[in-house]
Symmetry: C2
DNA sequence: GTCCATGCAAACGATTTGCAGAGTT
DNA sequence: AACTCTGCAAATCGTTTGCATGGAC
């Protein structure tokens, strides 16, 4: 399913290296919202030669070209989401898990206007505690 | 106006040092969404002895006790907002300015429910271009 | 063959830590 | 006086950079 993304990159004049392919493959269908380092650790298993800098370069390239979303959700790290469709996120402040939230009913959010500001995208994050961590607390 | 916050800190058993007072004073009514370093630079003018570590300690203390909001909006830095009332933010991806947005009409956002997740707070960020930067672009 | 991309290691910026001395209560 | 907080410097973490080599086109 990464064919479309590869075509887009090629169209834009970027070279399709095995590393870029590997990052795209890793991210394809991945809902874990990994950081660059998470991706690096995942890829090292198959390709111990891959470099962290390359992963950083690649995610930056993908994000800059709309193939990947940057999620500045928690302190001083960037998580990535390969699902670029409109959705929200819930962040568990206990365990750090990020959960995709697809709002059932379309509310007015996406059509908001702000005077003197050109909106490119909207990001909404719910901070709280996931089911797992709520249970953990009860059992103390 | 920082009296209420000082009382709260005292109640919680924290000492009211000149440095903590200075941070509270600096933040009081401040809508610039400063980082810890911004606060440090601002305070150094009056108190060249103040340490960056102390500022970090203080903002962490304030945030942990609900007197300050952490805003993970842009890459790898944390901005703070002393206005803890419910509102959104618009972030200009050109100049980095963060603007407070107080929605006119209360929509359903704040009463959203997520199955198996306990929402503590919601944060909504509009990414785009502020008026200034739009004008700059036109004049090129 | 040309240029862009990779891998490495060093550099960097924001934040955290350890600890001795100072200040609040 | 007790115990927390401060300031300093070093450590750490995530990310970026410079540069020589390698690979996609």
């Amino acid at each position: 399913m990464i064919d479309k993304q590869i075509r887009k990159l090629r169209t834009l004049g970027f070279k399709i290296t095995p590393q870029r392919r590997a990052v795209l493959d890793f991210l394809d269908g991945n809902t874990s919202h990994p950081t660059a380092n998470d991706i690096y650790e995942g890829l090292k298993k198959n390709d111990p030669e891959i470099s962290l800098a390359t992963v950083y370069n690649t995610v930056e390239l993908l994000a800059a070209n709309g193939l990947l979303l940057e999620l500045p959700i928690s302190k001083n790290k960037l998580n990535y989401d390969p699902d670029t469709s409109q959705h929200d996120h819930a962040y568990c402040t206990d365990c750090g898990k990020i959960i995709d939230i697809f709002p059932q009913k379309k509310n007015g959010d996406r059509s908001d206007r702000i005077e003197n500001f050109q909106i490119r995208s909207v990001r909404k994050i719910y901070y709280g505690k996931c089911g797992n961590c709520q249970n953990k607390e009860e059992s103390l």
